[in-house]
Symmetry: D2
Subunit: 508 residues, 4 copies
């Protein structure tokens, strides 16, 4: 048994860029795409792909895909090949389905009667099987199991078939949105335009940024725009010199071209349905410097820690964290509880994958090669250890053992999110129901099972309030842009993996 | 210009293990060696090597070396090959000389009249050139530029040439130690014994550990020994289930066999000389959970931060760190100054090496793809940012820029070590004197040069006192083991890179 | 200038196998496929792919594709993955279009309403552009430029859309054959059946074989069948223990299942058209031990040499060959002319691709690292050197230079095929018209240009007669199988690259 | 059981080059070395190495070594690195000892008191163990098992130790030659000179060539020299534009510098001993276009075939060859016997290494994927098949099976060399005595064992006479150069593997 990661994971990240000057431009779009993708690497590490377009009529598309991290998948010759693009979209992927082959990698490019389109997709179509049947009934063969190919063929197929006039891709995208409610944050590139699309429930994130002249990063006016970017997370803006502009709204279709950003339409949700942005983006997946719904993820995590300190106070000496993702929650807990914050573990940055076939001796040990105990900081003390989530329960256990062997008198686990109990069908990789510790008999005595002195979780209500407390009324913002559609403006989040309440019926 | 690491680096780490049971034993020595090496990976990432011995007479040695991280250099088939060793030594290397080829990798194995010996070395012989000449004058050709080959040939060559009796390797090691004063922490494996050697000045670290039954990690008696390990740093003990035993003393030769650990001799320093353990092991190189001279490195760094707060107080709102190495100093500074500790940067764990050939636009930006700013934590605030060292001055500058663009009103840099001004000839990779920012004209206005509102360094005296304050009298410890040699027992550290005062004359 | 290959090349080879026993069978289909593919490696070296089916209902297909030779593309783990197939098809590919990416590799698998089909194709559809348009007009997107994907989508799309009953793949294949006349030798796998299809002109080769018990290779009865194979060339049968059965006829659809081989239909050519089997398969592409139209390729090449000796006799001392492909023609020339056959060149088997950037000196030399001159065999003699074809004229020139420097007094080139003057649109990679030496001004003095004492080519008539002389009347054979279609039974070959007379109108 | 190569193999090839113009010269020595090495690739395919020197004082040496073929081991960046050499030596290696690691690769470079020397060696020192002991007794450690390192250390060590004056490498080489009689063809590079050395028995080949201006390849005068080359075989001269000059004589030391080639000395054999050039270089190892002792290897092989036809005539219809190495012998046999020469097998050029784990079916078959039978050439005929040697007897057997299944009525094997019965200790890789078919009980009925109708071998006397017949009196040539040493001038060859008579006592 290797010492493994937590077992939940994001499926993908998408990113796009359009240079705003006259083309061909000095701005190297492929470089911006690569850096943007590197910043989204935490959302998928199995493969990466970039497609650029020169924006001409007809356009020349250049594509490169590769397995592994962006740094592996994009050697210098790949970047050289891509360098003439004036716009482009890219994708980084972690496969939930287990089939991790190059041909499933995105973006997907297909040649249609009206020219080539490229599609990058984050999410999972809840009614993918029904849609596949539909497409195939029309006589189309599907060569991969990817939703991205399915979406692309749906776009190619969808009537109206405007053979004589210009292709109406927006009508086709709208049609697609009526056929599948969630979940997708989608980039569709056609010639000189990128359409950025978010599903009506806004389940996966998507936001817009503006590339500004570096010299004016401090004070930027609207005139100073070198290009537009669109990304799963705003954390990708900083390293390329882009400024956060706004989120793509649930159900919105945004057109990005060198002439700027234009909201084309907002496809509504069914009457009465709330938005359903994935709450685990806040808890675990997103990078802490990203901004969703007007608030920094780090701040939300800190609030979760504060809330946890209120809900689950501890009689202990010090508060600490399982580095690095639980640190904001630990600092919040410390602040709220008044207990001193210390570090108890240091991380081995170079742990890699060592091919250890442990003998009995090492198996007993749990092989905690990933962390070292900072013994003198906590020996003889009672430690509150904050973790962001417990999925299978097999990673926290050796850490507790390590701390106790190093001299902690008590170790109390406080988890800054509620127990995960249900599968996700909207783009998150979660172990099977049976593998989740919260569904096992051992959960009755979770503290005993993992070797802790006590274990407490944040409540669902606590999490929701920590998340929603900071959201400035979205209604006003939305109304500014789209005053015809007030129903989408209320606050709501998807908590299906915690509560089993899915935003749409699964048999949609 | 890539955003680069600080530019100083450790050269190598060494590790050894002897199984203590009857041979062949259940303990898989190769597995223990690999895990030990992974824990020392921060001391060298360019190549790794393991040599095991079955301990028989004559012994069978098995060697494997490879470029890159341990995880790359040791694929499963390599470990399979090594699995029958009952003892072994290993080495991880970062080349200071720029020649990074497989044939320079350690451990070095040579066949001698008395059988094969294997040598692993951390350090740099101050009189290597003179010793090479000497060896070659004897008629020996040297096939690499590595000190390890030189040491091996010196051991093979050194009289007395005990042709008829058993080879006296200890006499040869002593002879070697009279020929070169520093710096070396050395492992010499011969048949069923590892000799662990530290130079008389104790310039590089080396310590001993005891492998204990996992079930008795909490309460261990002397009888419960499954094996012995020796390592550059004690951080490698935890992940293999070993207990810290003690340091190898300056000048000491320790024999490790399945019968246990035995101190054979302590070769003295010249009268009046103090030990000269590298002070930068505390400041920068070592892993924070390692123990030197009885104190945890993390604690020393925290004390440096406290001392810095005393020497260089700041009128500011918050204290923070350049993650991750400066965090203990920042927490110490916060504690001492009473200012709140916050996080201002988050790290991209997947940054990799992306082949960005930045255009003018990205070059101006500094391409801070490594860090994201946690804007909301410090916008509108005056930040004290603690760094552990400033070497060339080109890494802190884009960070300051990032913080200011994200809204910090002031950024004050406090450095938890003194300026580096001099080269090291004892195993540390430091840029040339000309490249060091502290030797440049720009240093006169270092704050202006890097864009900070103020910059202050810890003093040499402050550093030395922060380090030495926590050292329990070494004299007593040493006297316990070797009561003939009191001169080596006083406290002393090498600060040559800061002060230019080298522990030995360089023309030795 | 590297010393390069001749510049013409086959595009691909296809191979298929069905185990004939009860499933799952002892016969390892993946092994047979791999060996069959290795024997077709001369038809394509850029990529290879295998798809196997377990033949169940619904079937499980397993696919593996890789770049490079079969030995590179199919490591042991790939074969392991494929081992449970009871039938399968495979493909080896050399891209003429220059786009050599994994996603263009065959076989192509698509999921359709009636289940997955897999397609492997050798040839080039003369009306591919029109067919792509047609498919896309139907709303299908095409994700590659490969004809194989196009064929697959055409099969998926073609009415009748038998939604309620079983899918009628044969009807669909027939429909495909009415839409595109040439060129394709096609394998279509569906569940437990392989359909082997050859276009009505029979432009590319395809033949059937029977796997027999090894012990009965000498004397086989019809009962002893372990499986059926289908291949571009019969040379692949020997190494797997298969016996040549017969050719797939022009226009024929053969169904291969575990129950045996069944001719389903022969789609006729337009009234009056002759078959158009590629004559260059005889001249250059095919392996000499393959059998086409009842005759061994080697024998045809020998006859070409004899015919050449009649058409172009030479006053010389010895006859020799450019090894290895021209050897049968050289032996034929020697036999007919009465001149002794000798070897003048030996080949460096290990020449590989050395990255020589020749300085002026080596460039003048022509770098003939591929061949060594067997000086003593011909020094002082007049040599007739037989080559199979001269395409660009840049490979024969350094050989002549080599022979002259080594002492040949005269070198007369006799080419066992006519000059190539026209492009091929049916699956052969030929340089552009401008690059062909026969279309250049230098061709007027080709002997002077390449440094020979004389140059003579075989005539088109000579070639055709050498090829057709040995063909037993196909008419009788065809009539046995399909007595409704006598028009396809006359002998005919495609000589378009020599004469410009294409078998179908190119704008079909 | 893979279908394997014959099982005997050359160990290595050596090559050297000195540019003759003023330095730095236009001649790219690294390119010449690479091409020279490619031509020697048949002498070793496991690793390759090049060392160049700029010839300055002190010299700068540049080395590159790699595993695999020259084309793999020397990527473009390696050649770039080596390009500034004015002279250099190189080596290609096949390890007989089974330890095939980079560190055993040649050339070996060592730093000595008098500067660096580089050594490349073909052969095997018969008294290596004694010499290793001697070197180690002097206090030298040996880091590899290679003879090349041993030779280098012997050269470094050997007195006289000329500390004050210039190093006398020639004296050292002579001293080495008195310590070990055979076998070695040796290149020693020091600064601006290459010493080419052949052992007193001349066991391994070595010859000299002159690089001439390409424009004057036809008619060269002594003035037109661009450089000097030295090589294991003359076949390497053609592709680099060099002219064969002469052999290095048994026992000779030749100095090669930019001033030309100079014979320094000839170290004599013991009184009465004949030279002992390896007769298997003629039979099997050398490339057919190489020249030894004044005669082309191809011609000798042809004579072996003629002699075989005299010794072992056959009542058959046709004569053929196992391609490609037995072809000259087959043509000789055909010529002498009057039987027609035909081809019966064609080779699959792309056979590669396919990971076939044959099931019972394929195992029975023998998996003859390497060859195809040219059925129509011999069906119904009695075939004499000439092979150059039969080592283990497992490669000829499936070929005979193939021919019989394809219709040969009889297959008679005639082997153009005598049976191999004894091990070689002088640089040839031969299977163990037990593995040699000639030492097995089955040899009594070898024809039955391999499935042939009859088997006959060339006699030792026949082989020796076929080899020696063509040698012009060496005595005169030698006397021209070295009139003091007439004993070395008689003709003699090593036939130890055939007769068990070794040229020197093995316990030397």
């Amino acid at each position: 048994m290797e010492f493994e990661e937590s077992g939940i994971g994001e499926e993908c990240g998408v990113f796009g860029c359009v240079a705003a000057g006259e083309w061909p431009t000095q701005l190297e779009v492929a470089q911006v795409l690569t850096l943007g993708l590197v910043a989204l690497q935490h959302r998928g590490q199995e493969s990466a792909g970039i497609v650029t377009s020169n924006g001409a009529s007809p356009p020349t598309y250049t594509a490169h895909k590769g397995m592994g991290l962006v740094s592996t998948a994009f050697p210098p010759e790949a970047l050289l090949k891509l360098r003439y693009g004036n716009l482009g979209i890219c994708h980084t992927r972690y496969s939930t389905t287990g089939i991790s082959e190059l041909q499933n990698c995105q973006p997907f490019v297909v040649d249609t009667l009206h020219g080539k389109i490229a599609v990058a997709h984050n999410g999972e179509l809840v009614n993918a099987q029904a849609l596949r049947k539909k497409v195939m009934r029309h006589g189309v063969g599907l060569s991969t199991s990817s939703d991205s190919e399915l979406i692309t063929q749906l776009l190619a197929l969808t009537p109206p078939m405007e053979e004589l006039g210009a292709p109406d891709w927006v009508a086709r995208i709208k049609n697609l949105m009526t056929e599948t409610p969630t979940s997708y944050s989608l980039l569709v590139m056609f010639k000189d335009v990128i359409y950025a699309v978010r599903d009506p429930y806004g389940n996966r994130p998507l936001c817009l940024g503006r590339l500004v002249p570096i010299s004016k990063l401090h004070k930027v006016s609207n005139e100073d725009t070198e290009g537009w970017v669109v990304s799963s997370e705003s954390c990708s803006f900083q390293s390329i010199g882009a400024k956060y502009y706004r989120e793509v709204l649930p159900g919105e279709i945004v057109q990005i071209s060198k002439h700027g950003v234009k909201s084309l339409s907002i496809v509504p949700r069914p009457e009465g349905d709330l938005p359903a942005f994935c709450i685990f983006e806040y808890v675990y997946f997103a990078r802490p410097d990203s901004i969703f719904e007007g608030q920094m993820v780090y701040t939300v995590r800190q609030r979760c820690g504060q809330q946890l300190a209120i809900e689950a106070p501890t009689d202990a000496d010090v508060v600490s964290t399982v580095p690095e993702s639980a640190t904001p929650a630990a600092l919040g807990y410390a602040q709220q509880s008044g207990l001193p914050y210390i570090e108890v573990l240091c991380k081995n940055r170079y742990v890699g994958r060592t091919f250890i076939q442990p003998n009995t001796r090492l198996r007993q040990l749990g092989v905690a090669k990933k962390f070292g105990a900072l013994t003198d900081n906590f020996a003889g003390k009672r430690v509150v250890l904050i973790d962001d989530s417990i999925v299978r329960g097999n990673t926290i256990s050796p850490i507790i053992k390590l701390l106790k062997e190093a001299g902690a008198t008590e170790v109390h686990i406080r988890v800054a999110s509620p127990p995960i109990r249900f599968p996700c069908y909207m783009g998150i990789n979660i172990p099977t129901k049976e593998e989740l510790i919260a569904n096992k008999p051992e959960f009755q005595d979770i503290a005993g099972y993992i070797g802790a002195d006590s274990v407490q979780y944040l409540t669902v209500e606590g999490l929701v309030s920590a998340v929603q407390e900071g959201i400035a009324s979205l209604q006003e913002k939305e109304n500014m842009i789209n005053n015809r559609n007030k129903s989408s403006s209320r606050v709501g989040h998807c908590t299906a993996c915690l509560t089993g309440k899915y935003p749409v019926e699964l048999e949609w």
